[in-house]
């Protein structure tokens, strides 16, 4: 290689870099980056952004230009693959992307599954942003309202904000309806007698607390929830039977319970980000039951 070739090459490279930076400079004011999308969300969320939060960028470069947005209850590799295939490079996830509450891979840092997921994100230049604390803080609770809407229930009752008065039914019929409408395979578990009358349902997606459950069940007949802890809300519901109050519990799993909320999140984001398509990518019930 001669000196002239080298300098020519430098000249060409220099010009290309100059063009790129000029384009980027213009892009910053007009183009929709992941950072711009999250800034809009922060401005519209309706509550102060928390100093300590799990919400934020978990993978990818915030300056990436967004071609489409996918909302999901949990950014599994399958969800990421479907989003990428549909041209949605910005993924808004309620639950973690890397197997832990803080999205640190921990012991799985060298694990082939983690590495494959990370490589896919890098290769497709995806950006993953967690949206959990602030989504949950919206009032009224969007997740509960969306779950109730999915079940064909309209608010509201004489009780709390998440209490729903439904046409009188039995626990058994309600369970059958919930299973069908939420397309549950094996993840539904319940407490209570199938024949018990149900009129008032406390809708609590995700993980319910004992104080909110105990308070709601003063009025409600049943709690419909995602992932009740089996040393907390589950024995409380069980003990209502031995204390002759007989309250029902329907547990559908965290992902299934929060999915309608992330569909509603997509609808809300469309109003904030009209430039690109926003689609909800669903995660179906991961469980099945053994044959008996």
């Amino acid at each position: 290689m001669t000196e002239i070739d080298l300098s020519r090459r430098r000249f060409v490279l220099g010009t290309a870099a100059g063009l790129v930076s000029t384009r980027l400079g213009r892009a910053q004011s007009t183009q929709l980056t992941a950072q711009v999308v999250t800034d809009r969300i922060r401005a519209a969320i309706g509550s102060p952004w928390l100093d300590k939060t799990i919400d934020g960028f978990k993978a990818g470069d915030p300056s990436t230009v967004v071609t489409g947005v996918a909302t999901t209850v949990m950014a599994t590799l399958d969800v990421l693959q479907r989003a990428a295939a549909a041209g949605q490079n910005f993924v808004v996830t309620q639950e973690p992307v890397f197997y832990g509450a803080n999205d640190e891979p921990g012991n799985r840092a060298q694990d082939p599954v983690y590495l494959a997921k990370k490589a896919f994100i890098d290769q497709k230049r995806l950006v993953v942003w967690r949206f959990s604390d602030h989504w949950a803080a919206r009032t009224p609770n969007q997740s509960a309202a969306a779950l109730a809407t999915k079940l064909g229930w309209r608010s509201n009752s004489t009780g709390g904000a998440a209490d729903y008065l439904i046409p009188e039914t039995t626990l058994g019929a309600l369970i059958a309806d919930v299973r069908k409408r939420l397309e549950i395979r094996g993840g539904l578990r319940s407490i209570g007698n199938d024949g018990m009358r149900v009129r008032n349902v406390f809708v609590s997606p995700g993980g319910p607390t004992v104080p909110s459950t105990a308070e709601a069940l003063r009025q409600a007949d049943v709690i419909l929830t995602g992932e009740p802890r089996e040393w907390e809300v589950v024995p409380y519901a069980l003990d209502t039977w031995a204390s002759e109050r007989g309250k029902g519990l329907i547990s559908v799993g965290r992902l299934v319970s929060e999915s309608p909320g992330m569909e509603a999140c997509a609808v809300w984001l469309r109003t904030l980000i009209p430039e690109v398509t926003v689609t909800a990518v669903t995660v179906s019930d991961p469980y099945w039951r053994p044959q008996s």
């Binding site: 949990m74 494959a116 089996e230």
Partner: protein, 257 residues
């Protein structure tokens, strides 16, 4: 023989095994007077109201429970005052002079851990325990579907949940008690345990592994289906040094229908 004398005997027996009683522990009296004269002991996975009724009917006024009595890890009851179920349970406890003691942290400190050993025994896996790897069981080759069916049959469970391809081949299983479901890795096929956070853990890992063609399985027994049987082991252990009063396992059973 009082309840506190029985606890002192438990502490002494643990010390002889090299297990010092912890300064910070949830293993404390949760209800009743420790000085109460014990007529009989009931061990259980969880002191549900129903378990207390059965214990009282059987004349077992000292209940040793693995999990909480009042719906939280620390059995904090301040927020429950005035709640009709909580108040009814407390009233029943005092009317029947029941004493409740939690045996959680120190039970898990025993070797083998009786909570794991009890489940392994119920599942028929004791003989398959890996001699070198804790919590690992190496089973004769089967499939996830066949394994899950066998597990549900042995535990007589109605509410076991399984994730993963039912046709996947299985030999290596990791068994953990209660909320301690082993984290799936590439070193074994199936994680078996009580309950687990669905997001940010095994379910997510399993779905991701499937997306790159690696088959993993998860069997969630439910918390009681994974630890109740261990408290039977604890009852047998207690019988070794408490002969003055009867000791009986009263299962909490599966809460779900």
């Amino acid at each position: 023989m009082t309840a506190e004398q029985i606890v002192a005997r438990i502490q002494k027996t643990l010390l002889e095994k090299g297990i010092t009683w912890r300064a910070q522990t949830v293993d404390t009296f949760k209800a009743g007077a420790p000085a109460t004269e014990v007529k009989g002991i009931a061990t259980t996975g969880m002191a549900t109201f129903d378990v207390l009724r059965r214990a009282a009917a059987a004349g077992r006024n000292f209940v040793i429970t693995h999990e909480p009595t009042f719906y939280g890890h620390t059995d904090e009851t301040t927020g429950l005052r005035g709640d009709p179920t909580y108040e009814a349970k407390q009233r029943f406890i005092s009317d029947h002079h029941i004493v409740i003691f939690r045996f959680h942290d120190h039970a898990h400190a025993l070797r083998p851990d009786p909570l794991v050993a009890g489940s392994a025994r119920m599942l028929g896996w004791t003989q398959y325990a890996s001699p070198s790897e804790p919590r690992i069981y190496v089973l004769p080759p089967t499939t996830l579907g066949a394994l899950a069916t066998e597990v549900a049959r042995r535990l007589k469970s109605r509410a076991i949940r399984v994730a993963g391809d039912p046709t996947m081949p299985v030999t290596r299983i990791a068994l953990g008690p209660g909320y301690g479901v082993p984290a799936l890795t590439s070193s074994f096929d199936v994680a078996v345990g009580g309950e687990a956070a669905e997001a940010g853990g095994n379910a997510e890992y399993l779905l991701d592994a499937a997306a790159i063609g690696q088959k993993k399985g998860l069997i969630l027994l439910g918390h009681m289906m994974s630890e109740d049987f261990g408290m039977k082991e604890v009852a047998e252990w207690l019988q070794g040094f408490v002969s003055d009063v009867p000791v009986e396992w009263i299962p909490a059973g599966e809460p779900f229908s």
